[in-house]
Each structure stands twice: as structure tokens, then as C-alpha cells.
Symmetry: C2
DNA sequence: TCACACATTAATGCATGCATTACTAAATGC
DNA sequence: GCATTTAGTAATGCATGCATTAATGTGTGA
């Protein structure tokens, strides 16, 4: 309905994001508009439009004569991002609990939790990571605040850049799913404060872990 | 240092934002790129770039053959926005308290509160509004989280669109400054939880008022 | 009279070209 | 030999033109 036709600019946006996540455009590296346009097989105009959007999302910076700089994420940045996610996701948990969703509306959330359990049992970190994303995304969806969703999507993008590396370095998130289940139960039972506080504690803990890993390894991220 | 030279695109961005706030481009109205470019005395390219940025900030929508649509803000939207502001500003208050800022660092915050008192005494709503903005902006600044600052700036823009009208309709915010002082004192004393909870309650109250006014008058905003 | 199809109009998306400007390097003066 | 200035180069910001495509209006047939 309100769909836009797939323009070259949108293709460039998706492709550039992909290149950043894949590490083809590493953090801190500089690239000229012309080069990127050539790589993407289109003219500078749509590429430039995509770059402006990505700049607005905080993934890169346009420096007038020095090219496009992919922004690195310092431990401090990651802490800031996690703090935002903590607040907004906790709000979502609270609102989701207040909304009194039916069991069927909560099915996706529960499925994500189940999938995380399976992934942990199988030792499949990638599958766990994917299911974890799904859980957080669905949580925000159930919260029903569109602006929160937009912001969390943006920030999650940045977290995803770091996750690939931190996943291998951090302890297996075996206990994390207990928290998820508690949050789920609280939402199901309509216990707003419980949902909020539980999720908040969960996210604070996750933040400590990630930031700890980043600092320990002196990493600035991709 | 990291300043960008003032390009036409940035001028267009500022000017368009101004036109939206001033009501020259009313909520729900449609405008063609060509017309806007003509009004701004520049070619379509920089105007288009500015429009893309504004779309990213949620102020408008680019509809392929129907022109640029200025997005209205419903009471629901305003409630969503206030919820985000509540969470992120409360976080800022907490972090500001934890940071242990010196008295001189807190001077601007206190000045904003004093100015609000003066404005209320003088019955000057515009001055009050300006000082209130300053208080919230400074609070976020003291919180020290750059992403929070960016998000709050964006959301505040949207609130400002509604404020001009709600100001005249809502009760005089005489008591509101007591809250501000309590938050200030808590930050000064390093009482993080107190700062957080006080500010949270303050914002929740403000949300009720504004959303109430919007719903009562069935307003969709500029 | 209504519906469908075709043609015309016009806005957008993109490519391209040009002018401006910043960076580099070389040359001259001290 | 070093510093300063100037010339050359190259990337960006913007204007412009074109092609595509959607919307509107007209005409014809049932």
C-alpha cells in the first residue's frame, strides 16, 4: 500500500549497510563517493542519497574532501547505545504487559525464546544470536510505540556490528534465557512493573558483559 | 574543527524545518520538490537532500508522485514521543547525578530554572517555554550520552510543533518548576535514583496534560 | 450513459557536467 | 636548506537534462 518502488537509492542503502556489517567497509576507513558508486554500478546521485541517510543513522560521516568515514564504535559508544536500548526496551516490556496481549499475539515472542533454548542446547551461536534479535524486535513490536521501534532498530544495527566478534569472546549466554522467560511471563500476566524491572536488569547485565569484553580486548568496532 | 561548511543542502534543511514549525507547510499538506526548490531559490538537488534528512527525522514523507507530505502528529504520536522523552531524560538525570558535576557545570541548569521562575512571575509564556527547552537540553547534555542527546533533540523538535498551540490551552505550569528544582537538587547531591524518579514523575505528568489537551480539542498538529 | 483504453502531461529518479575548493607538490625566494 | 607561495589535480556540491512512470483527461464503443 504505502510501499515505495525499489529505487536505486534504496538498493544502495541496503547494499552499503550490508558492506559495513560484513566488514567490507571497515570502521575508520575512508571511501570516495565515486568509488562507492562504481562498486555499486550506479551514478553518484543515488549513492549520495543513501550515504546521507546512513549518516543520519550514525553509521558513517561525510567529510567533504576526505571521503566517507565509517564510524568506529568505542566501548563508550557501545555503553551509550546499550543504555538507550535498556530504557526503551524496558518501556516496551512495560507497555506490552499493560496492553494485555492475547496468547496468540505473544506466540512469536515465545517462539523466539524456545528457539534460543534450542540454539543453546545445540551450541549454535549464530542461531542463538538470530533468535535473540527476534525476541528483542518482537518485544518492541508488542510495546506498540512506533518511535521506540524506529530508534531501537537503528541502535540494534550498531550492536549487530559488534556482536559478531563479541559472541566468540563472551561467556555462553546460557542463563540469559531465564530472564527472557521471566519477562515473557510477566507480560503474559499483565505485571507491568515486573516486566519492566526484569528486562531492565537483564539489559544492564548484558551491557556490563559486552562493554567488559570490548574494554578487555581494547576493541573498536567494525 | 569538525564543522562543515554551510552548504545549500544545510540551508534548505534549516529553512524547511523553520517553515514546518512556522506552519508555512501545514501538517498534512503536500508540496512538490520543484515548488520547494523555487521557494528556496536553489535547484532540486540540495532540496531533495534536505527532504531525505527530514524524512529520516520523521517530520515528513516523500510520496513518489504526490509530493512531500508533512506528517501530522496525532495525540497517540505525541504520547509515544513523550514516553521516549520520559525514559531518556530520566536516564540523563540519573547519569548526571552519578557524574558528580561541579557547581559551575550545573550553572546553566540552575539558570534555566531561575529563568522559568522569572517568566512565570512575569506571565511570559514564550520566555517560559524557551527556558524550559533550555533546562531539558542542558539536562541531557549533563547526562553525557551522545545518542540520547541526538534522539531527544529530534523528538523535541516534534514536541515544539505542538507546544505553540498547547501552551495557550493548558494550565499555567506554575508547579512544574518545583519538580525542576527537585531534580536539580538531586543531581547536585549525587542522588541518582531520586533524580531519575523525580524527573520521570515530572515527565509523566506533563505527558498526561499535553495528551489530555490534544484529545480534548481533537487536535492534529502542525 | 458508463466503462475501458489510449494519449497527454508532469513529477520524480537518476546521470552527467561544471564550477568551486581543498590538498599536494614543486618552485622560488630568503 | 627551509619556508612560503603558487600551480595543478581531484573530489564534492550543485545545476540541469532526460527518461520513466503515474495520474488525468478524452474519446470511442457497447
Amino acid at each position: 500500500m504505502t510501499e515505495k518502488p525499489i529505487s536505486n537509492a534504496l538498493r544502495a542503502l541496503a547494499k552499503l549497510r550490508e558492506m559495513i556489517f560484513a566488514g567490507d567497509l571497515p570502521a575508520g576507513s575512508n571511501h570516495l563517493e565515486t568509488e562507492l558508486a562504481a562498486q555499486l554500478n550506479m551514478s553518484r546521485t543515488p549513492v549520495r542519497e543513501a550515504l546521507l541517510m546512513l549518516e543520519g543513522q550514525g553509521l558513517l560521516e561525510l567529510q567533504p574532501r576526505k571521503g566517507v568515514r565509517i564510524l568506529p564504535i568505542s566501548p563508550r559508544d557501545m555503553a551509550d547505545i546499550y543504555d538507550v536500548l535498556t530504557e526503551l526496551e524496558s518501556l516496551s516490556a512495560e507497555q506490552a504487559a499493560k496492553a494485555g496481549h492475547s496468547d496468540s499475539a505473544l506466540a512469536l515472542l515465545e517462539a523466539a525464546i524456545d528457539d534460543m533454548d534450542k540454539a543453546i542446547a545445540a551450541g549454535d551461536l549464530d542461531a542463538w544470536s538470530e533468535a535473540d534479535d527476534r525476541f528483542h524486535k518482537e518485544l518492541v513490536q508488542l510495546g506498540g510505540n512506533g518511535r521506540v521501534k524506529a530508534i531501537v532498530d537503528m541502535m540494534s544495527d550498531q550492536v549487530r556490528r559488534a556482536r559478531a566478534i563479541t559472541l566468540a569472546l563472551r561467556p555462553l549466554p546460557t542463563k540469559s534465557n531465564d530472564d527472557h522467560r521471566k519477562v515473557f511471563q510477566a507480560i503474559k500476566d499483565g505485571q507491568a512493573n515486573m516486566a519492566r524491572d526484569t528486562h531492565r536488569a537483564h539489559r544492564c547485565h548484558a551491557k556490563e558483559i559486552i562493554v567488559g569484553v570490548l574494554e578487555k580486548h581494547r576493541l573498536r568496532f567494525i
